[in-house]
Symmetry: C2
Subunit: 134 residues, 2 copies
């Protein structure tokens, strides 16, 4: 892969995949924890920058996904970085509510490989039933 060309308009400088997507990693600006991983298309990235809150593309629901729209757990953007070849984004965010995962945990990365098993290694902060209550 060639390096990102900083002379290009910022959206064109990124390398969108064959589906028009780019992976985005959300990292907590305060704790440094990696909270989640999701995908963006151009529209969701533009909305993210304009609104100051993370907007992803939900591949399962095939629609724009304003993170927090159901849970209230919005992600306020502190800064956005790209990697050397411009095909991955790193979002430094403030996680509203301190919960990024739909399981009610701080981070989606709560399963630790221990021997030959994946073990939940982080506590549930809030019961999902109380997050997604109708």
């Amino acid at each position: 892969m060639s390096d990102l060309d900083t002379a290009l308009p910022w959206l064109d400088a990124l390398k969108w995949d064959e589906h028009g997507m780019i992976p985005a990693i959300a990292q907590d600006a305060a704790s440094g924890r990696v909270l989640m991983f999701a995908w963006m298309n151009r529209e969701s990235l533009e909305m993210t920058i304009q609104s100051g809150n993370a907007v992803y593309w939900s591949r399962s629901r095939r629609r724009l996904w304003r993170k927090g729209e159901e849970s209230g757990h919005f992600q306020r953007i502190k800064s956005v970085r790209a990697d050397c070849d411009g095909d991955v984004l790193l979002l430094s965010i403030e996680q509203v509510g301190g919960i990024a995962c739909h399981t009610g945990r701080e981070s989606c990365f709560f399963l630790e490989l221990q021997g030959e098993r994946w073990v939940p290694a982080d506590p549930v902060v809030k019961d999902p039933k109380d997050i997604y209550a109708k």
Copy 2:
């Protein structure tokens, strides 16, 4: 996406994409910095666990890529986590040499969006000519 089934054998519990790949994020265990993003197939993940050093699948070179094989900048595995739905890995690593990026920087995520431009925001630790010297 359904949640990772912790009852399954660990490799089968992961959700490999249509190319047999899973994304992997490498995070510095000491500083918390996100250093790079790459892809793994089953073989590279097994080699990673067995050897204790990160092995990726290079999509551009279409071969196993033992990180550090040319630069000496190996990544010693401290722990491996998966996310809630088992389709992304987070590697906590010790970055040998303190440099993960081929540009000679600590992290591949050195380009910060400032206004409408991507701006290199981190120093070059070591000239790539001195890293990849023949």
